[in-house]
């Protein structure tokens, strides 16, 4: 019996290897045709934050928010704008915002906040791997979005893409309705994202993002996000909230002993 199982395993392995060998040259050519985005990338915010870290004043930290474009004014419809204003005018919501603590961000603001990321480009998918453990999967194997029954809202949404020369064109849907996490902006469940990502030079990546939200916006919101190669890093430096010493006490963020 053992001999039979061993023979079957060998046969299976042989078949798998043969398939791999058959596909290898084609896959190598597909890899070779893709642009090289190797390395670690700073967002504009992480670049500013790392310049200041360890020696900034409080005001400077707050000023870093100016590098996060997605906290800026969006082209809201009057109805959505009124709804947001009413929600933000609620004192409880305001206190909640002041006490907000974030360890993960979700899409789209993960592309614009303080986390460094690695871009992994393969023929089948491109991954954006962030230092806080969040990952974006952009499938480039020709598939479309899942059918309605197979698709539900998530923090990252569902992304598929294709290459137009050296530009990765990404289409994202099914982002969870709600706040962007930082700042006042909020999107509906129907928000639809298109991105054109390219590397204009060796040390720069660029993401031309368009957000179309038929419920919240009067017109598409266009942003261009810039990334710079983190030339001082040779490896990912993970970030997490394992030693969170900032509990919310009596409605305020405080400092706990070690």
């Amino acid at each position: 019996m053992r001999a039979v199982i061993a023979l079957l395993l060998i046969a299976l392995l042989g078949a798998y290897s043969a398939e791999g060998a058959q596909n290898a040259p084609q896959r190598v050519r597909a890899f070779a045709a893709l642009p090289d985005w190797t390395g670690l990338w700073d967002t504009e915010a992480s670049r500013a934050f790392n310049r200041l870290s360890g020696k900034a004043t409080g005001n400077e930290y707050e000023a870093i928010n100016k590098y996060v474009q997605l906290v800026g004014p969006a082209p809201y419809t009057e109805a959505w704008g009124k709804k947001l204003k009413a929600e933000l005018g609620n004192p409880a919501a305001a206190v909640g915002a002041s006490n907000a603590k974030l360890c993960t961000y979700g899409f789209p603001i993960i592309m614009d906040v303080f986390q460094i990321f690695q871009a992994v480009v393969t023929p089948e998918e491109t991954l954006f791997v962030f230092d806080n453990g969040e990952v974006r999967h952009i499938y480039t194997d020709g598939r479309g979005h899942p059918v309605k029954d197979d698709l539900w809202p998530t923090a990252m949404g569902d992304s598929v893409g294709h290459w137009e020369g050296d530009t990765l064109v990404i289409d994202t849907v099914a982002r969870t309705e709600g706040s962007l996490g930082i700042g006042p902006n909020k999107l509906s469940a129907q928000a639809h994202f298109t991105e054109r990502v390219r590397r204009p030079d060796r040390n720069s990546l660029e993401d031309r993002m368009t957000i179309d939200d038929p419920i919240a916006f009067t017109q598409p919101w266009n942003l261009t996000l810039h990334y710079t190669r983190a030339a001082d890093l040779d490896r990912m430096l993970p970030w997490d909230c394992a030693n969170d010493r900032n509990p919310v006490v009596n409605g305020k963020i405080s400092v706990a002993p070690p």
Binding site: K55, E62, K85, L102, Q115, P184, S254, P258
Partner: protein, 126 residues
Amino acid sequence: MWRTSTTGLALLLIARTGAAHHSGAMFDAQKSITLQGTVRLFQWTNPHCWIQLLVPSAAGTTEWSIEMGSNGNLYRNGWRASTLNAGERITVIIHPVRDGTAAGQFVSATAADGSSLGRASAPASQ
């Protein structure tokens, strides 16, 4: 029209929310305090690094908790886990927390010999 009218809201919330992990609003950025003391503990951790500093006071000794950036942020500015050790005497400038407890946000530090801890400025590549 709504693009303009929500701008004020944006500024309000940005001031409240903030850089990674939490807002800096808990610290009084208009006030700086200089602390001279002995390191009890240097936590090389995330989301923040911390210095526990024993500072002589009228009441005896007060332990201050000093919040820094993440270890990745500090690493990129020349800090290492070995930069500070228990028993070292240092001088630290902080922005104190608004609630009056013995805690604050790190601004800068110097060793007993007067040298700066960490890089004075970030590399040009950043």
